[in-house]
């Protein structure tokens, strides 16, 4: 545009070399990310019980370790527990946060900003702050060793972000939409379901996958609230498995892959939502 032809050529040349070095750099970073995952995967393919040194290409490929981890080491029940909890947490979080975010984002509630601030204040609550009394309180009402207890606490723990997220979303929807519907005599309920909800699907999807991830990965909470080995979740089970069977590296590696697999699949399927959520969601602070 303003530049002369020579300048463009020069810049284009710089761009080419730069593009190259950029890809080299990206690839180096990608290798650093992939190697740990790859080495666990390769280890999981080694014969069970063998010592594994460094990174070794397996002699022959077999899923024996996975089969063993799934049945003998009980990863099937661990994964089922995690899935059950996630199935409880995700829909409930979406409903609760959707309703609250709608009211706090589109209606002018008396003291609404204060209530929103109360939720936002919970964004930085670490599990460490609440886990001790939770154990004693939930125990006294029979909610330890119970999926329901973990589900309720996880919902509460993720609600600050969930409400904040949905409120932000509803605030950005054009107010004219709501106004128009109201003038037509629609109730607030109808406005939510007929007008806003269809528009909120991307926001809800993103929130759903984020909540699923947090729920699946939660460790300390489950470690404390679930003592019953038969109800333990995948990360908690893996944590204990390490302490017990660490001589059998291939099986441990298979277990590790199994625990990572569901969340990785969800991540790949919903990558757009995920990346958007993680990047925008990071702005929660």
């Amino acid at each position: 545009m303003r530049r002369g032809g020579a300048g463009v050529n020069q810049a284009a040349g710089a761009y080419r070399t730069e593009r190259w070095s950029g890809y080299v750099l990206l690839t180096a970073g990608a290798v650093a990310v992939v190697v740990p995952f790859l080495s666990v995967f390769l280890a999981s393919m080694q014969p069970s019980g063998e010592p594994v040194v460094g990174m070794e290409w397996p002699q022959h490929w077999s899923l024996d370790n996975y089969r063993q981890a799934w049945t003998v080491a009980g990863f099937s029940s661990l994964m089922r527990s995690s899935a059950l909890i996630a199935v409880g947490v995700v829909p409930a979080s979406l409903v609760l946060a959707g309703l609250a975010g709608y009211a706090l984002g589109t209606m002018r509630l008396p003291g609404g900003d204060g209530v929103a601030a109360l939720f936002v204040a919970g964004l930085t609550i670490p599990v460490e702050l609440i886990v001790v009394p939770l154990y004693f309180d939930l125990r006294s009402i029979g909610l330890t060793d119970s999926y329901l207890g973990v589900i309720l606490v996880e919902i509460a723990l993720f609600l600050p972000f969930s409400v904040f997220w949905m409120r932000t979303h509803f605030r950005t929807t054009p107010p004219e939409l709501v106004e128009a519907a109201r003038i037509d005599g629609a109730s607030s309920w109808t406005v939510l379901f007929r007008v806003l909800l269809p528009l909120a699907r991307p926001a809800l999807t993103t929130l759903g996958v984020l909540v699923f991830m947090w729920s699946w990965n939660q460790f300390l909470l489950v470690l404390v609230l679930i003592q019953d080995a038969t109800k333990r979740t995948a990360p908690a089970g893996l944590g204990f498995f390490v302490g017990q069977n660490n001589t059998d590296v291939p099986m441990l590696a298979a277990g590790t892959i199994l625990v990572m697999l569901p969340i990785t699949i969800v991540y790949v399927l919903f990558q757009r939502s995920f990346v958007a959520g993680l990047l925008q969601g990071a702005f929660k602070g």
């Binding site: 990608a30 001790v132 699946w216 990572m260």
Partner: protein, 313 residues
Amino acid sequence: MTAAAGQRARRGRGGRRAGRAWRGYLYVLPAAAVYLAFAVLPALHTAYLSLFEWDGVTLGEWAGLRNYREVFTDPALRGAVFNALVLVVFFALLPILAGLVMTGLLSLPRASLGGAGSRRRGLGVYRLLFMLPQVVPLVAVGVTWRWLYGEDGLINETLGGIGLGGWARPWLGDFDWALVAVGLVGTWVLSGLCMMLFLAGVHKIDPQLYEAARLDGAGPVREFVSVTLPQLRGELAVALTVTTVAALASFDIVYVTTGGGPGEETTVPGLLVYKLAFTDGKVGLASALGVVLSLLILGLVYVINRLSRTERT
């Protein structure tokens, strides 16, 4: 804003309408109830318990602020807080540095071409990969690295392979290196997030700013320092907040890799809260530590956001 203004204008003073405004809280009620019952009340209960000496079973004994004094005077507890602060270097500063360097190099073409070529082909795959450590359970990450750091692990094997066998050591059992080793796991997890955050931020920068800088005769480095960096202030604050919280509240990685050892070299507050409350029977002290940890996090988050805001104005 306009909607709010319009609503306010129409609402008037009538009690009937105020009642209807209140009705909106019915939507908030379920969320508020769960949040209060299972997050806010436990937090307050922790603060309450921190004023007692209690073993979790028998009748507790009022302790006043004694537990807090112990948090600040007991070398083991103070050491744990110090370790968490060291982890901030690895969880927050290093990933942000790595993210900035990557962003600087990757966004150069954008700068030199005034916006053209800002979208790199194939970046999607890289993005997918770089965010992966952030997505999988930290417990699984810890198990993976515990094994990589092991005596016969990949790290020592690689060192041996490139003639640095003298450096090989059981990293997680080494008094000098254990905390660094644990910290670097955090760096590995969080670098991708920081990088992606900054790259996304760079794309939002007005290309004209680069044009202007170039007209002033700025080179690529000065361009990065004087245009890119200030424009990324918001992203920097966010990255710093997220990673700092991750460092201070860390538990999962430490629990599976070292369990706090060797000695107490990698003990972090989260680990102590768990141990004090549930194995040592010092519920009050654990609660006090939890409160102190949360206040520390809150304070740092406040400072970070305050700084990023004052700089902007």
